[in-house]
Symmetry: C2
Subunit: 221 residues, 2 copies
């Protein structure tokens, strides 16, 4: 990478950080708790989020979601089946969301009374790590099928996360997943982070995830 492109990239990230700081103040003033879901493609962000939106609504919470993809509105349509308000953000080739996209897609979105704003990032373990989206909580997902070494190979995204969710644990035996090793590797990169083991499809471990989300909301207030 040339020095010039590093410099420009740092400039863009600084601009993003400023926008994110403004947006964070705005969301906080409205009482919105924002959660940024990051992972590799196919880890199961959409499935976890679909279940989460439906369950939190069932518990009387008001929720909304933004979902980022390079192309297609498949994920927004899947998430909308939960009944929650959802908007698709298309990045047309860019490998991450940024704070400006979040701000622009919240424009005209009725946030009054919304307690949780979920942001499903583009499937990517590299680029989203460097972009603050004004979230209160960054959650990194890792599926049992991806291998236990991913935290070591993609340290920045694990190091910037506030919680880790291991997904598809119903497949753990089939892929000989070593949960202790995965936990060890996550904590080697980000000591003390909460780690949840879930299967959204089979409803395994989801209660602990909902409790984590509800406890964060209480703590914020």
């Amino acid at each position: 990478m040339t020095a010039r492109i590093v410099e420009l990239r740092q400039g863009l990230q600084k601009k993003n950080d400023q926008l994110a700081a403004e947006l964070r103040r705005d969301l906080k003033a409205r009482g919105v708790y924002a959660v940024n879901l990051v992972s590799s493609p196919g880890t199961g962000k959409t499935e976890l989020l679909r279940a989460t939106l439906a369950e939190l609504m069932g518990r009387g919470h008001r929720v909304a979601a933004l979902v980022g993809d390079l192309e297609t509105d498949n994920d927004a349509r899947r998430l909308a089946t939960s009944g929650a308000p959802v908007r698709q953000i298309l990045t047309h080739g860019m490998c991450h969301l940024d704070a400006e996209m979040i701000r622009n897609h919240l424009d005209g979105f009725d946030l009054d009374g919304i307690e949780y704003l979920f942001i499903e990032n583009v499937g990517n373990l590299v680029c989203p790590a460097s972009y603050d989206l004004a979230e209160d909580c960054r959650v990194v997902l890792l599926s049992v099928t991806e291998g236990e070494d991913k935290p070591l190979k993609y340290p920045t995204i694990f190091n910037s996360a506030d919680a880790a969710v291991i997904t598809k644990v119903d497949l753990a035996a089939a892929v000989e997943f070593d949960a202790a090793l995965a936990r060890h590797n996550i904590h080697a990169i980000r000591p003390g982070i909460p780690i949840l083991e879930t299967s959204a499809k089979r409803g395994i471990g989801m209660e602990a995830w909902y409790q984590l989300l509800e406890s964060r909301l209480v703590k914020e207030r």
Copy 2:
């Protein structure tokens, strides 16, 4: 993205394309057939490649591999168990390999008589799409656990591939994978591309993959 960064990025890609063209001529002159493996993290590039290096060596071919990761030399160590010469490329945060990294890591690498040079790219479905590594064949991998819609959501990388390998088919039933839909989506983005269905771990569908590689080598000569 600002106009300036787009311009700089285009400049970098042009420089990469020129370097790749030189390297391609050099590899061709030496009789080396280069294969660039691209996929999401955890799709199984390393497992496919480890089996492939061992099998091709068993068939009397001379092979070598470069493997890219942000951090760790885990993959180079796994691949070296095949007995093939392997070098790790660490990108320290960058989301793809480029032609300069390939050229620099081939420096001093004995390529005499090497027929196949495999390049395992960084696990990422976005960034590697735009970087020519002087490969003769770009192979995109998609695991059954990632979902059938990934070609539609990451069209550039599928559109730039010369072959597609569906991996982990031993898990297809457990994840209710729809192979016909996945094939339909791959061909919607890249009509006519060969699609192989494999499990490197269980040795399923590998013969067709080896035959594809051997037929390409014959065709090149």
